[in-house]
C-alpha cells in the first residue's frame, strides 16, 4: 500500500483538549473517512495535517517524501475545505473564483462555473449574491465547486456532506468517485463525516477517533471481517459474556459485538453471528471506547 500521508507521533495541545499522539497512514488512490463523535478531534487532526495549525509534536510526510507542507508546491497539490467554509461572508461567487484564481495555478475558472451551475448554487459570473444571503447548504456547495475546480492530488474535506440535502449528498458521492477514477490510483480523498451510512458507498478506508486518539483504522472490507454482531437469548448471553465487547440485554433478544475470532465459541454456545456494516461497526467501536473510558 502506497501512502499519500504518513503521520508519526502527531500531537496538538490546546488548553482543554489534546490530540494524539496519533500515528496514521492514508492510502493513495482511495477514499478515507474519518469517523468520530463531536469533539473527538477530527477537525484538529485534519487542520494539523493540512498545516492550518502547526503540531505541538510529531511529523507528517506528504506524497512519500515531503515533510514541510509549506515547501515548494505541496499546497497546490492539496485541496482543503473547512467545515464552516473559509470565505468571508461578504464575498460573492465571483470573488471566490478570483481568490482561487490568484491563489492556485491549477484552478480552472470555467470548471468552477460549470460546477456552480451543476450544483444549482450560482449562474456564470454571479457578482451580486453574497455568501451571507446563501443557505448553509449552498455555501458548502460553493466551496465544493471551488475545490473540485482545482487540479489536485489530495482532497481533505471536513464534514463536506453535513449540511447537504440527500440529493446533493448523493451528487457529492458521485463527484468523489469521478475524482478517484480520473486519478486512476493517483488521487486520494480524506474526509470527515457524521453520516456514515450515507457515505458508506464512497468509503474505502476508515479511521475511527475517540477523545483525541485513533482507536481503529483499516480498509472497510478488512474491518468488517474483524468484528461480528452477535444475537441470542439471555441464557446464552450469560455464558458468552466474557467474549463480548458490548452487550445490549433485552427480555426477548440480546445483541452484542465481538471480535471475529470469538465466532466459533459464540456459535457453539447457541448465539447467531453476522458481519457488521461500517455504520454498525463504527457505533459499536465508539461505544466500546466510551465504555473503556468510563
Amino acid at each position: 500500500m502506497d501512502s499519500v500521508i504518513v503521520a508519526k507521533g502527531l500531537v496538538k495541545k490546546y488548553k482543554k483538549f489534546t490530540l494524539g499522539p496519533v500515528d496514521l497512514e492514508i492510502p493513495k488512490g482511495f477514499s478515507t473517512a474519518l469517523i468520530g463523535a463531536n469533539g473527538a478531534g477530527k477537525t484538529t487532526l485534519l487542520d494539523t495535517i493540512c498545516g492550518i495549525v502547526s503540531p505541538s509534536k510529531g511529523e507528517v510526510t506528504y506524497f512519500g517524501e515531503i515533510t514541510d507542507i509549506e515547501a515548494g508546491e505541496t499546497k497546490e497539490r492539496i485541496g482543503y475545505q473547512a467545515a464552516q467554509g473559509m470565505y468571508p461572508m461578504s464575498w460573492t461567487p465571483y470573488d471566490v473564483a478570483m481568490a482561487n484564481q490568484l491563489g492556485f495555478k491549477g484552478f480552472h475558472e470555467d470548471r468552477y462555473w460549470e460546477l456552480c451551475k451543476k450544483y444549482g448554487v450560482a449562474d456564470y459570473g454571479e457578482k451580486k449574491q453574497s455568501l451571507m444571503k446563501m443557505s448553509d447548504g449552498n455555501r458548502i456547495r460553493l466551496c465544493l465547486a471551488a475545490v473540485f475546480a482545482r487540479d489536485t492530488e489530495l482532497l481533505v474535506l471536513d464534514e463536506p456532506g453535513s449540511n447537504l440535502d440527500p440529493l446533493m449528498r448523493d451528487r457529492l458521492c458521485g463527484q468523489f468517485r469521478e475524482y478517484l477514477e480520473e486519478g486512476d490510483g493517483e488521487k486520494t480523498i480524506l474526509f470527515s463525516t457524521h453520516n456514515i451510512a450515507d457515505m458508506e458507498n464512497v468509503t474505502d478506508y476508515a479511521i475511527l477517533m475517540y477523545d483525541g486518539a485513533v482507536i481503529e483504522s483499516g480498509f472497510v472490507s478488512d474491518l468488517c471481517e474483524k468484528y461480528i454482531l452477535v444475537s441470542g437469548e439471555s441464557a446464552t448471553f450469560d455464558k458468552i459474556k466474557r467474549s463480548l465487547m458490548i452487550e445490549d440485554r433485552n427480555m426477548s433478544t440480546c445483541f452484542g459485538f465481538a471480535r471475529a475470532e470469538e465466532k466459533d465459541k459464540l456459535e457453539a454456545a447457541g448465539a447467531v453471528v453476522e458481519s457488521p456494516n461500517l455504520q454498525q461497526l463504527s457505533i459499536f467501536l465508539l461505544r466500546y471506547a466510551e465504555q473503556q473510558n468510563s
Binding site: G29, C173, G174, R177, E178, E181, D184, G185, D204, S221
Partner: protein, 122 residues
Amino acid sequence: MKILQNSEIPIYKQIAMQLKEEILSGKLTAGEYLPSIRGLAKDLKISVITTMKAYEELCAEGLVTSVQGKGFVVNPQDTAMIREQRLREVEDHLLEALEAAKTIGMTVEEVRDLITVLNHTE
C-alpha cells in the same frame, strides 16, 4: 451487470459471480482486461474497495491476474476442467433433489418425469 442493492448476497459477491459467469461462458476471453476498479466503482455507485474485493476473489480462483499498473487480465481457461467442475455441480444438485424426493416417497421414474416436464416448461 445487474446489481441488487438490498440483496442478502454482498455486492462484491454479486460482481464476482457475474464476471465469473462471463469468463466461464467465454463472453470475456483470455487476454481481455476487466473494467478498471475505479471506473466500475463509479458506474455501480459503490466504493472502490468493493470492486477491488470482487476482483481479488476472481484472482484467488485463478480466473484473472493482476498486472501491475494495467489492471486485471482474464486468464486462459481450461475448458475440460470447467466442464468437469460444472458436471460436479449438476451431480451435486441432482443428488440433493433425489434425497428430497426420497423423503416424500417419489420414485426415480417420477423424478425423471418431473425433470422432463420442467425442461419443457422452461
